[in-house]
């Protein structure tokens, strides 16, 4: 691993410098993670009096549990839809801003601020707009004959959390697409124009392929975002309902652990989630390595 050519020689100072970071990592990250792994092999009785070691029992039970399998499916639908929606909208906006000269900065400012809005607040705002009794959108939908009710209809609930989650993520994707577009040399698009390619053809044959590294990167980041950071959206808008329709994996860990007090199962779910994060992180890092060698 890289260091400087010359280094400071000091026996205790470096340890002192890394100590705070390592202490926090050990106490609040590694120890709990280890606990989760350990607990995932245990089973507590209903009164929390007796724990028994049951090996992979919790995992087996999970994979047989229709609720968990449903949660997996819900997570996949939610993640993919949110990521796709947020990426496509951001790309369209970034392409539009890329055409602007003087107004680009103003538009950018007006589009990026939702990044700063807490996911929980984003949830509350959309929840209010879609409120079945007084919300403005159900009112409009009612006019065209659609009876919106996300607290009863599974599909409505899913659409609502997707909109709330994507709304916040568009600004992030937008910034990265704008940067990606700026990195495409103007000469390339000019060459294509000289070759007789119109604006749409240029987009498909030049811009989109050159943006593919950015798009792939955003896809991974967005999936991570929807799987973990959207917890507050779910909690504030649907609490996982109706009938488990929006009970994504992270939310289920929390519900089963704190509300259901099923520690073994919750721990097993944590471990599975950790495995998912680790693989996503590895994908992200391999991708970054590749980008560096370009």
């Amino acid at each position: 691993m890289q260091t400087k050519r010359t280094i400071f020689r000091n026996l205790w100072l470096p340890y002192l410098l890394v100590a705070p970071q390592l202490a926090i990592t050990l106490i609040f990250f590694l120890w709990p993670a280890g606990q989760a792994v350990w607990q995932s092999f245990l089973r507590e009785d209903a009164f929390g009096l007796k724990t028994t070691f049951i090996g992979l029992g919790n995992y087996e039970r999970l994979l047989d549990n229709p609720e968990y399998l449903n949660s997996l499916k819900v997570t996949a639908v939610f993640s993919i839809s949110t990521a796709t929606l947020a990426i496509v909208l951001a790309l369209v906006l970034a392409l539009a801003v890329d055409r602007m000269l003087r107004s680009a900065r103003v538009y950018t400012t007006l589009l990026v601020w939702p990044y700063a809005v807490a996911p929980a607040i984003a949830g509350v705002l959309w929840w209010f707009i879609f409120n079945p009794t007084i919300g403005i959108l159900p009112y409009l939908l009612d006019r065209v004959g659609y009876d919106w009710n996300h607290s009863l209809i599974k599909r409505d609930a899913m659409i609502l959390v997707i909109i709330a989650a994507a709304w916040k993520q568009v600004s992030y994707n937008f910034l990265f697409f704008v940067a990606g577009l700026q990195a495409i040399p103007a000469s390339m698009r000019e060459a294509a124009a000289i070759d007789g390619a119109g604006p749409f053809k240029r987009f498909w044959s030049i811009t989109l392929p050159l943006l593919s590294p950015t798009t792939f990167f955003l896809l991974v980041v967005n999936v991570v975002y929807t799987m973990f950071d959207t917890f507050p959206v779910i909690d504030a808008v649907t609490s996982g309902g109706p009938a488990q329709a929006t009970n994504i994996l992270v939310y289920k860990v929390y519900r089963d652990g704190f509300v259901g007090l099923n520690l073994g199962s919750s721990a097993a779910q944590s471990v599975i989630l950790m495995a998912i994060v680790i693989s996503l992180t590895v994908i992200q890092f391999r991708y970054i390595e590749r980008r560096v060698t370009y």
């Binding site: 340890y15 609040f28 539009a96 929980a120 007084i134 507050p232 929390y254 994060v277």
Partner: protein, 282 residues
């Protein structure tokens, strides 16, 4: 610009204006709602034009005049959020810059191990290990304290990597020149490294402040005492009323107040914000 096609430019403007409107829409609705009397929400649809009750709504939530649904005034929650966000942002920066300094400028046994331990935190977001982490906090007696709110969140692989990257781009000769000039490690850190990382620190601060301010599940778990309630977490409690209609004007006034600090930070420091965002993803 390859060519100037009028209709494409007009289309682009239309797309952007639509985008800006969609993005602003929920916040507009929230702000309008906060300016009305509670009675405006009893029947029909939410109002779309400002009402005349803005001053009352905001004054009430700030001073806690709506005790039926809130046990503490929003001003206290704002203060708690501010303490938490600042502690997290500053804490993360301090411990990360120190460990990056150790990892780059020293060679010591277990350096590699330390690096990997920090790296692992990247793979363990709090949502994933929430139950056992809560047990640790509770065992350490850190529930209902500012320390419990912030310290468990201040380990940061991202910030450590960022500073490591920054330090690696600083020429070796600078440190050698400083050593010849009689600067020890701490003096070099203070006189040379810190000033040279200034903009990186500022950019990172913007991102981390937002991160800290927007924490949701952690404050909900760690604080049962309303004295430590943060505003983002508090909104949910306000909205979760069981047997009566939510007081929409208060909820929305609170939402607007909760959004304000981080949004202002982003808008005022857009350049630093973009820099921070791009750098932390490297």
């Amino acid at each position: 610009m390859v060519e100037n096609q009028r209709w494409l430019n007009i289309l682009a403007h239309l797309v952007l204006i639509a985008g800006v409107l969609v993005v602003a829409f929920p916040v507009y609705i929230a702000f309008i709602a906060s300016t009305h009397e509670p009675s405006a929400f009893v029947s029909g649809v939410v109002p779309l034009l400002p009402g005349s009750n803005a001053a009352n709504s905001y004054a009430d939530v700030l001073t806690g005049g709506v005790s039926s649904q809130m046990s503490v005034p929003i001003s206290l929650m704002l203060k708690n959020s501010m303490i938490m966000a600042l502690s997290i942002a500053i804490g993360k920066i301090v411990i990360s810059i120190l460990s990056a300094f150790a990892i780059v400028y020293f060679r010591f046994p277990f350096r590699q191990a330390a690096f990997w331990m920090i790296f692992i935190t990247l793979m363990l977001p709090v949502e994933v290990r929430i139950v056992p982490t809560f047990q640790v906090i509770s065992n350490l007696g850190m529930l209902n304290s500012y320390a419990g709110l912030s310290i468990p969140l201040i380990a940061s692989a991202t910030a450590t990597f960022l500073f490591r990257q920054v330090f690696l781009t600083i020429p070796d000769e600078l440190m050698e020149a400083a050593r010849i000039d009689g600067a020890g490690p701490l003096k070099f850190f203070k006189d040379i490294l810190l000033p040279l990382s200034r903009t990186n620190i500022a950019a990172l601060f913007v991102i981390l402040f937002i991160y800290g301010w927007n924490q949701y599940i952690w404050p909900i778990l760690v604080t049962t005492d309303d004295k430590y309630q943060t505003i983002v977490a508090g909104i949910k409690r306000m909205a979760d009323v069981v047997d009566s209609e939510p007081l929409w004007n208060y909820i929305m006034a609170t939402s607007v107040l909760a959004m304000l600090p981080p949004v202002v930070v982003v808008i005022m420091m857009q350049r630093l914000f973009v820099k921070g965002l791009v750098e932390t993803e490297k």
